[in-house]
């Protein structure tokens, strides 16, 4: 029996965001936009979905006079990401 893949992570942009955040302490919106090549609107929507699932936290603040949105993976987000990778490996192992 295969484990179910988390539908929230099984989307390219959301997975890219989670992969980036899994390797950093925190990252701001501009950095995520540069790294994923996503449009601001789409990235913003996907970040909201991840935040609603409490996979990431989003903090709005300022860097100097410029507004800055910072994202950080939560413990439950990191756990979901680990489970997702584990499930993927099971799928791929079975396919060999």
């Amino acid at each position: 029996m295969f484990p179910k893949l988390d539908p929230l992570l099984h989307s390219e942009l959301r997975l890219a965001v989670m992969s980036i955040l899994a390797g950093v302490e925190e990252a701001d919106f501009t950095y995520l936009k540069e790294q994923t090549g996503a449009t601001s609107g789409n990235l913003s929507v996907q970040i909201d979905k991840l935040a609603a699932a409490e996979y990431i936290t989003v903090e709005k603040g300022f860097k100097g006079k410029m507004p800055r949105t910072t994202c950080k993976i939560t413990a439950s987000g990191a756990e979901a990401f680990r489970e997702y990778v584990k499930a993927l490996k099971k799928y791929l192992a079975a396919g060999k």
């Binding site: 980036i20 390797g23 925190e26 090549g37």
Partner: protein, 209 residues
Amino acid sequence: MENTNEQNKEMTAQESLSLITETLNNSRKEITRRSGKYFLFWGVLLTFFSLFIYILCKATGSDAWNNLWFALPAIGFPLERVLRGKEDPNGARNDISRIVGGIWGTFGIFACTVAAFTLIYTQVGTSLFGLISVLNGLTAEIVLLFGLAECVSGVALKNWIIKIAGFVTGIGGLSIHYLVLDGMEQLFIFTFAGLVLVATGLIVKSQYK
């Protein structure tokens, strides 16, 4: 990622795993590329300091100029902060960069403490027993710690050039200390370590252009 539909599509297991692997590798490459700049910076500073102190010691005949080594972190860390401040205004601090920073911070603390203690022991030893031989081991201890820090950085960054450079610095520096150089000329061991660091920085930078 081409467009919004592409970005939001569901992927196969293979595509998902490839994306995760690629993102993590990109993250590691980015921090390794950046580390090249710091290796270069500290290598140049170390080479300059070792030659400068050697010239002063040789010209005056006094090894008290070795106390100038304590100025290396005092000058290096603020300059490094300036160097870092300009590099990534959007800042995403990577876990690997935190680990590598921690390794070199720990090296700095160990090196300064060992140097300070050695000086104290030398003063006490000299005044009480007429001993001054403690200083001789200091170069070996510090170059070994230095090589170890560099090698462990290579392990964290998964970069063979840095691992080998660390090994060459630590073991090579120690060998030079035991086999070749003596007295003030031991300062050239740090010149050697600095030049290896410069070469490492240049190679790493060219690897991830």
